[in-house]
């Protein structure tokens, strides 16, 4: 009978998992559906789920009114740049924390993480002023650096966890074999940590892509990424829902596709070390 119970449990778990998954996915699904409705249908009450007149009109209007490609390009540069820059800085940092820890390493890690607990708006004013002072408001390079700094604690933490799984003796063996620090990082540590580094890259790219607070506050035209593209369609009165949805769908499509294809890597990366 034990077997029957297990199967029953399994089915129940599967149903539960699907329910939670659908619940989380529902807003995205609703956004995508709304983007194909007319403005009137979009705000109809009671809401219409599937039997509406499917139209591509919203996409046409959005495409006409704003230059999607420019926003996309900015998003790619800001998200990609901040992620790559972050990894370059975080690999040596995580290496030293994992393999030559000092008495304060744990404190530093916690302190770094604690900066993530600070509400971002708390430092908006100083950072905004610094940007004006340096003349880098609405500048892609400035956003690359700022988003890199924002996500650096997470990158370092993730890499630190992966590196901790690599036995120190292997790095010592490389040192005995004549590898310089650079060669040790390049030929031994990095190849061994590839799965971890890949999922760190992915996760941080997604975080930077979706980051809205800084990108909205520090850009106007030139450096505005897709978050600003969406925001430009939101109106305080709640009008033009369908067009806002179309813009949102266009903005999240690239990252959704990326996430879909890399989900195995992402899940493995996020649970790495936890299950072993």
């Amino acid at each position: 009978m034990a077997r029957a119970v297990t199967t029953q449990r399994k089915t129940l778990n599967t149903i539960l998992a699907w329910a939670v998954g659908l619940l989380i996915f529902f807003p995205i699904l609703w956004t995508i559906l709304t983007s194909f409705k007319t403005e009137a249908q979009a705000i109809a009450s009671p809401p219409i789920f599937l039997n509406f007149d499917w139209t591509l009109e919203n996409y046409a209007v959005v495409q006409e009114r704003s230059d999607y490609m420019r926003f996309l390009w900015n998003s790619l540069i800001i998200a990609g740049g901040s992620t790559v820059l972050g990894i370059i800085i975080a690999v040596p940092a995580a290496w030293s924390m994992a393999f030559v820890p000092s008495k304060r390493t744990k404190d530093i890690l916690l302190w770094m993480l604690s900066t993530k607990m600070l509400p971002a708006v708390g430092v908006l004013y100083p950072i905004y002023l610094i940007c004006i002072e340096l003349g880098v408001l609405d500048n892609r390079a400035a956003l690359v650096v700022i988003l890199m700094l924002i996500n650096l604690p997470i990158i370092v933490w993730m890499l630190y966890t992966y590196f901790r799984e690599i036995p120190g003796e292997i790095l010592e063996a490389a040192r005995m074999d004549g590898a310089t620090l650079k060669e040790e990082l390049l030929y031994i540590l990095t190849p061994m940590a590839v799965p971890g580094i890949a999922s760190t890259l992915l996760l941080n790219f997604i975080l930077a892509w979706n980051e809205a607070f800084w990108t909205l506050n520090l850009t106007a035209v030139d450096a505005a990424p897709l978050t600003a593209f969406i925001a430009s369609y939101s109106s305080p009165e709640g009008l033009f829902f369908a067009k806002l949805s179309a813009a949102s769908t266009m903005a999240i499509a690239p990252i959704l596709i990326l996430g879909w294809f890399s989900q195995k890597q992402l899940v493995r990366g996020l649970t790495f070390g936890a299950v072993k």
Partner: protein, 334 residues
Amino acid sequence: MGQIQLNQVTKSFGDVQVIPPLDLTIEDGEFAVFVGPSGCGKSTLLRLIAGLEDFTTGHIEIDGKDATAVPPAKRGLAMVFQSYALYPHMTVRKNIAFPLRMAKMDQAEIDRRVENAASILNLSDYLDRRPGQLSGGQRQRVAIGRAIVREPAAFLFDEPLSNLDAALRVGMRMEISELHKKLATTMIYVTHDQVEAMTMADKIVVLRAGHIEQVGSPLELYRTPRNLFVAGFIGSPKMNFIEGAEAAKHDAHTIGVRPEHISVSAEGGEWKGVVGLSEHLGSDTFFHIHETGLAETITVRADGEVAFRSGDTVYLNPRADVIHRFDANGLRIG
């Protein structure tokens, strides 16, 4: 080409001094074994020689040249780790070639040396496999291969056999000894297993709490242990220690008699006792004798044919010429 000399070396981790001032010379071509219970500082000492740890004070000379500030890669030493520490993402060939690649050697010479090392270690058929596809013994050989291709001034082994099963361990022990004969290179070998130390070493260094208790050949340590610690550590089963009146008869605070130097009989002898546990090894039998009035247990090593049952009364005769005498400080007398 491989004399290693430590002068007044110390090592502290924070406030804890793990190696008090220590002097030691390992001659060129010697097989030296550091042995001691866990936590005695033997691995730390090896890592200091390797350069993986910095000295707190003191200095090291390799081939007469001061190497204290020389980084590990430049000391000309090769190390074999307890965990083998192979590079899991590289094939056996690339693992063995790695130190040569780091030395920027040309590819033809790298290939020649890798093939050569592989044939010495019977790894030729496995060169294109990854470490994960090899058995423990093969991995160990790859680790040794990676060490020998560099033609180092000395090899450092950090408990290399402790992850292998018993049968493989005996085989690898002999392979390493033969390798030492073939290469005639200095080897320093760390182990907690005194059998490994006795069978492989030219010179044994017995360590306790960072102190060198005694340095000598295996038989010197067996025959003339300098103190109670060495006497108890070297030899298996352990030496019997007897204090009190019996020791006083020999003008000593403590006397030590090895189990193999006591004969046991039913007829009569110097000491009398009752048989407790017997351990039958086939070739030998170890009897644990109680109620002797000398010590809680006296261990006796007898021929495998000798049969006594638990509870039998027996008589023991120690060989007078091999009784070790120690003073109240635990130091050897005479």
